[in-house]
Symmetry: C2
Subunit: 202 residues, 2 copies
């Protein structure tokens, strides 16, 4: 009997953690970092304060876990979407536009809230710093692969990095107004330059 | 007598407003938006609460005025610095690096705090939106001029915009760790691409 009762308990715990993390991200997106309180999150997730504190003893623990969780989820989505892109003409545009959408999503807004809060909060920065480094490396690796870029050639690594810094800047621009059309034009134009440069280096 | 007494009074008022705005920006940089309170600012500026409220009745009025003031100041500085750059080889690298430094300054951090706070605060957004549009247009105009770019040629406008979105993304990357060396390499590489593309279009 012990195994049949243990499994549902584990599942319930996992489902509860999941609800807490989802509620935290929604809260960050809608109310910002300062409007995200453990009370609001537990109410939203339908989880008791005691259970929440057991899993995430502080607000910082909760927000870092939430953004980490969602970023990995989105990273996975991005990876699968990239895998489905057709090869050949138009691929670079598709990759770059996909990155642009990725950095303009609500999850980017949640991560931005965390990032900006960490700038003036040393304890939060200690958790956010390594998370950002890991996410950055993973996104870079995925972009190199999607573009079929050869980073051993001079200048290629910098062009891939510039592409990611560009979409980060576009993501920031998109937070206070809908920048979709302008972003599309800029990214198409950049994709054409990138295509030419990567082919030169092939 | 009335003119000789009025002028010092006007000067005192101007100096006081200046101290309030400077203190606000310092506060945004050091403590973030949520840590910036009118009490902390008035103490820091050495201005009475009454006088502060007379000039800036709300926290939002104060932070918007402060970031607007400093952004214009920095825009002026950037304009003068660009005017002193030598023509010829290396100019594009110098322009792009200057933009990179501009978007990695403490004033960018203060503006970022305001920007992110405005995302979830409709009243603040109403003030920040037009300010950002004006600043964006002015920075774009200045960049076109500094690069000697001809925006009537196809693709040139998008490359100038991409350059500004890139430095914004680099500015964001710089807020939680010192990104100076990586930024330098990326911007040199970007400048070389830009130079080639702008020349093609000349």
């Amino acid at each position: 009997m012990s195994t049949t009762t243990r499994v549902p308990q584990e599942e319930r715990t996992r489902a509860m953690r999941h609800r807490l993390l989802e509620a935290t991200v929604e809260c960050l997106v809608e109310r910002g970092f300062s409007g995200t309180t453990t009370t609001v999150v537990s109410e939203r997730a339908g989880v008791s304060r005691g259970a929440q504190l057991h899993h995430f003893p502080t607000k910082n623990a909760l927000v870092v876990a939430a953004v980490s969780h969602l970023t990995e989820l989105r990273g996975g989505e991005l990876g699968r979407a990239v895998a489905e892109l057709p090869d050949g003409e138009g691929r670079t545009r598709a990759v770059v536009r996909m990155l642009g959408d990725h950095f303009s999503s609500p999850v980017f807004a949640a991560a931005l809230e965390l990032w900006v809060a960490a700038r003036t909060d040393p304890a939060l920065l200690e958790a956010v710093g390594p998370l950002e480094q890991r996410v950055g490396r993973e996104t870079h690796r995925m972009t190199v692969e999607a573009l079929g870029a050869d980073e051993s050639r001079p200048g290629v690594r910098e062009l891939v990095q510039a592409t990611l810094d560009l979409v980060r800047g576009l993501g920031l621009a998109n937070t206070i107004s809908d920048d979709t059309r302008r972003r599309g034009r800029i990214l198409d134009s950049w994709a054409d330059v990138l295509d030419e440069k990567l082919q030169e280096n092939r």
